[in-house]
């Protein structure tokens, strides 16, 4: 039995949430059971990812290759669990556990009756499973399928609240994300046309040989891929859908959308750019410069836009646009240090943004207020929630000894190694701007006089979820060692293509 599990580990990480998602629907009347099953599914996913990590670690760098249905490539679909896959699978499953815990017994107010709540969990698990799939898949068309699953479940999650604004945001998201999918599909089609392969390894090799003969087609494919994933990952200036979608979704959904979904697309983008197109081509087409510029623009514009928002969740949503900029920038540096920083930052931002969104959701649920200046006194009335928010903010600002700082450090060193000064300025300005848009929230919550109302910290599962995430921000900040090592190895895997 264990041998069987072990042999099928990469696919289990994906299958566990996906499979359980489908058995939830008929159980809609027994909402407790649904919640417990959803929780168990994420825990199972985390367990499988953790086990996968130890297995991959024991293999000392050679990735765990799994052929779906026993069909070898180029015919079958191949899953490759290397360090890159492991780090992302860990992040996805690790963040999904506290988020689902936070949702427990807490959704009816935001979402509606038990049927809708069940639907929320189904979509949630589909999303988690598909994201885990993105971590391990090595097949172009498989990526496209997963991208569609993620997109549609995200769309469902955004519209989960019964609110006209939610419907509008979901519709906008649907249109733009479908456009993005079309671009991605176009890109994949062009690559297939040029190479005749859908396996990323084979396609990459073949593309390296044939691209001088079809430079324009390759250029088109690269632009399609960048635009397609750019829309979905909210890379500035293609971010327009994100603030509405992430601000109107129910809080657990916002946490998972901002923390994980966006990262999944970025991961796919990195896999395409490094694994399929390869470093030579990227340099030749100056794609890395474009990425760097997009990143810089995203950091600055996203932060400035966040600064002008009065609603807490919208501010956090724009902050995601800025943080995506860091990752894109790191991906464009084309050196191991910058890539390590980007991958580490991806993980830390996932945890931090989930913390912030969940805390913001708890505050909004308890106070009924969404504007920042109405939050006076929250710090004293909801000490645990606000403490989690403060810890998350410290992490996002990039204070030393919080999760996130060392990622920024590596990004800075990477930019200097690449000899570029613009990213350095953007990274530092981004930190200061981040302080400028998050510290006022904390100031209002703690130092403005509190009104005489009875606001309270949320229930026990919610508190536990916040506590778990905030602890992770601190612990992984003080002891990032193993995680940093994993990020470094994952970056080395990508750099092998450069």
């Amino acid at each position: 039995m264990t041998a069987l599990l072990r042999a099928n580990l990469p696919v289990l990480v994906v299958i566990a949430p996906l499979f359980i998602a489908f058995i939830l629907t008929p159980l809609a009347r027994r909402i407790r059971l649904v919640e417990t099953l959803a929780f168990l599914a994420t825990v199972l996913g985390l367990g499988a990812a953790g086990h996968l990590a130890t297995v991959v670690f024991a293999r000392r760098g050679s990735p765990f290759i799994y052929q779906l249905g026993g069909w070898p490539p180029p015919w079958g679909i191949e899953l490759v669990a290397g360090n890159l896959g492991v780090i992302f699978a860990l992040v996805v499953t690790g963040v999904s556990v506290p988020v689902v815990l936070f949702a427990r017994g807490n959704l009816t107010a935001e979402v509606g009756d038990t049927g809708r709540v069940t639907r929320f969990y189904v979509l949630y698990l589909l999303l988690v499973g598909a994201l885990a799939g993105m971590a391990v898949t090595n097949d172009l068309f498989n990526i496209y399928v997963l991208v569609e699953v993620v997109t549609l479940s995200c769309c469902g999650l955004v519209s989960a609240r019964r609110h006209p604004r939610a419907a509008e945001a979901a519709f906008t998201y649907l249109i733009l994300a479908t456009l993005g999918s079309a671009f991605v599909l176009g890109g994949i089609g062009l690559i297939y046309m040029l190479t005749g392969h859908l396996n990323m390894g084979f396609a990459g090799q073949e593309l390296g040989r044939v691209w001088p003969d079809y430079p324009h087609t390759v250029l088109l494919a690269v632009s399609f891929v960048i635009i397609g994933f750019g829309v979905k990952a909210a890379v500035f200036p293609l971010h327009v859908w994100l603030p509405d979608a992430h601000a109107t979704a129910p809080s657990p959904a916002s946490a998972i959308l901002s923390g994980l979904a966006v990262k999944g697309y970025l991961l796919c983008l990195l896999k395409f750019l490094y694994g399929v197109f390869g470093g030579v081509l990227l340099r030749e087409l100056a794609v890395h410069r474009i990425l760097t510029l997009l990143g810089v623009a995203g950091i600055i514009a996203g932060s400035l836009l966040a600064l002008t928002q009065e609603e807490l969740k919208r501010r956090l949503a724009y902050s995601t646009v800025a943080q995506v900029g860091y990752l894109v920038l790191g991906g464009g540096l084309l050196n191991a240090t910058g890539l390590t920083g980007a991958l580490f930052y991806l993980a830390s931002h996932a945890v931090i943004k989930a913390t912030l969104f969940l805390a913001a959701g708890a505050i909004q649920a308890a106070t009924g207020k969404s504007r920042i200046r109405e939050l006076a006194g929250v710090g004293r009335k909801m000490p645990l929630t606000m403490a989690a928010f403060t810890i998350g903010s410290c992490g996002l600002i990039g204070l030393p000894l919080f999760f996130g700082f060392i990622g920024k450090w590596y990004l800075l060193v990477g930019s200097l190694e690449a000899g570029m000064i613009l990213p350095v300025v953007a990274i530092l300005a981004g930190s200061v701007l981040c302080a400028a848009y998050l510290l006022p929230v904390i100031r209002t919550a703690y130092f403005r006089p509190a009104p005489a109302v009875a606001w309270r910290d949320p229930g026990r599962p919610q508190k536990l979820a916040l506590l778990l995430l905030a602890t992770a921000v601190v612990v992984l900040g003080v002891r990032p060692g193993p995680f940093l090592e994993l990020a470094r190895k994952a970056a080395a895997e990508l750099m092998a293509f450069v």
């Binding site: 030393p400 700082f405 190694e417 130092f447």
Partner: protein, 482 residues
Amino acid sequence: MLALVLALSSGAVGGLLVAVLPAARSRLRNLVVLFFTVGGILGSWQVARLVWAGERLRLAGQLGGLSFSLEPDPLGVIFGLIASTLWLFTVVYSFGYMAGKAHQRPYYSFLLLAFSVTLGVAFSGNLVALYLFYELLTLTTYPLVIQERSEEALRAGTKYLLYNLAGAAVLLLAIVLTAVWGGRLDFAGGPILAGGFKIGLNWLLFLFTVGFGVKAALMPLHRWLPAAMVAPTPVSALLHAVAVVYAGVYGLLRVVYSVFGTGLLAELGVGALLPWVAAGTILAGIIVALRQDELKRRLAYQTISHLSYILLGAITLHPWGLAGAVLQMIGYAVLKTAFFFCVGLIAEQTGVTRVSRMGGVGRVLPKTMAAFAVTTMGMIGMLPLGTFWGKYYLLQGSVAGGKWPLAVVLVVSGFLNAVCFIPVVVKAFRAERTPSPAPEEGGVRVALMLAPTLLLVVIGLGMGLFPGLVWPGVQAVVDWFF
């Protein structure tokens, strides 16, 4: 090692303890505050004794993916001793000043936390630790700046945060560059940078100067300091005349002596420019101070001016200049704190906060005004006060370092200090009118404020009459770097 841990942790432990104590138990809270402040002092004295005896104290470890180290050296020890000694005086003064005021619990809690953080700055052994504590110092002192919670205070607080966090961001870049070029970040073992690409090094020095210059209130990065004067007077006295601003100055001394080293710095164009930035700040600061009517703002601009004395001494790159800088650091800290304490006493007892309303204050508050007069002489740098010796060595250092115009700047600045404050003293003692309500210098509350003030004045006088008392510490610093 134990002493180092005691010095660093007592403030943090005390601060957290105060935060959880019931807000109403003010007597118990005061005892806790006093206990942990004394703990910090004992720790830092022990650290100082061990360092002077030549022992190597080192706490280092991999934290957050980078190596942190705490390793006090003679310069750090001097800063630590100044901070911890003055902390005790300020705490006692606060017992009087804060009595009956709102938000006492966060006040004492953050005051103690800032104590730990300041000692962390003083004892840090590499740039990473220094950066961490430098950043934390901003965050732990922010609640003290907005202690009043008024709109004006909150606005000033925002300015405080933005200036200091932006400075820290620039500092981070400088540190990353140092790591990339120098290959290490530890202070021990001589200057980090040994030479190399000149244009790059000039930029690096510029970045460091901006990064630390914000807290050191180098003009034009000084604007947060006058704004921060909305804080309660003990905070202005301790943090915004000594601890926080000294963290910036201390950082710059580190940059000069531990990052670049005197040899390399002398070859850099920006290095040659720095003394003139300092000189400009000295003169501009005191000239702007002349035009301030509000006493605390006048003192704040004078702080800006005097901080650059220290900096100027350090970048003469001459042993005498460094000795002068260290002496100035000690003497000025003592007297400026006393000066602010006097201003607080006057404001609390008579409500006078402006120079234009000082008339007659000397008649009603003779002891306070006497202390005020003595500290004024200290600001000018006259004998028999401690600041004289600092200035003396600064003059010697600038002449010996081949920069005699700096000596002229110092002399002119002394004169301007006299112009700035002697009229205030004269005005206070001339009986134009009696400020109402007529106060009296009595009661426990006033005694708690007056005692530390007078004691500091006595210490300042003692340092002037017996400079040999502090000289070994100064000598140790000079021997360490030259």
